[in-house]
Point group: C2
Chain length 188, copies 2
């Protein structure tokens, strides 16, 4: 990716996330990035593609942000589950004031054939898989239901954070996750 393309994508990510996809025009993105519209279209081809790369890049950055938290749990699946909530809490505080970008993008896209749809669906499936895998390792035979419960708590916490329903919802969700693990007799 060229320097101008990087600046354009960075500006697009910030603007799309803060103001919404349809509310942000390509002229504004180009201006904020200090890039001409020609360059923007030479690199990305369309606004739709810019949206796709926005979501894909943000997902990639979230997974990279999460990785060291998971590594620190070192083979303990119960600790790994709590590590996801710890990572989410830090991520939410720093990058996610408006809630989950995937959920927000989904609210603005109606056509299931839109290429962003697949990214959004895949991101949620990856998170569900992560939770169910860890839950299955922590409490054999209960991974499915426990994983889905953790997914609900996690998604709910991101929404509650974005809408400021009450303080520290991700920390609260972590507490409930801990109780679920204890109730399921999870191995440390």
């Amino acid at each position: 990716m060229t320097p101008a393309a990087r600046r354009a994508l960075a500006a697009a990510e910030r603007l799309f996330y803060e103001r919404g996809i349809h509310a942000v025009g390509v002229d504004l993105i180009a201006a904020e990035a200090g890039v001409t519209k020609k360059t923007l279209y030479d690199r990305f081809g369309s606004k739709e593609q810019l949206v796709v790369e926005y979501l894909a890049d943000r997902d990639e950055r979230w997974r990279a942000f999460l990785a060291p938290y998971l590594d620190a749990a070192e083979g303990s699946p119960a600790a790994g589950i709590l590590a996801v909530f710890d990572a989410s809490r830090a991520w939410a505080a720093e990058y996610s004031a408006k809630g989950c970008s995937m959920v927000n993008a989904h609210a603005e896209i109606s056509d299931p054939a839109h290429p962003a749809y697949a990214i959004i669906a895949a991101q949620k499936q990856w998170m569900l898989g992560l939770f169910t895998d860890l839950a299955g390792a922590a409490a054999p035979g209960r991974g499915g239901r426990l994983g889905r419960a953790l997914m609900l708590l996690h998604e709910g916490a991101l929404v509650a954070h974005g809408l400021e329903v009450f303080p520290d919802p991700v920390g609260e969700a972590r507490g409930e996750a801990e109780a679920l693990l204890a109730a399921a007799g999870a191995e440390g």
Copy 2:
């Protein structure tokens, strides 16, 4: 509200919810409602006001939908909590294929001074109050934490439903709510 205004609001609600607020123009709303743009502006004054009434009306319809479920619980707070999930499950199946309209609208509005903001915030506070009140009655002294946990499960379920993360998330959330109530030693 005049007949044309009712048709216009009904069309606006459907289109805003299905396609998003910024993706829907007033010309389309007027056309789908079989109403001229003049009438639309005579009745509502602006698109912003139409958005406000969309959210306020949907919230009102949800509360009216929920009321008989709560009434059927007849003074049992634990049954009342499960009744909320039962109502949500039915509501989601019939009216909420794209998830929570408040969450989705919030994704498209960046200005906190927008009049829709207050409606969205109030709706979430009302739900949190409902959960904490019922939880406090079901398990005295634990209403706060239990209510917040129920709120997280409920919000997460609506998101998971809208994004089709796994089947019947609201039913799944109901099951987790039941377990939470049992663990808190809730009175029937």
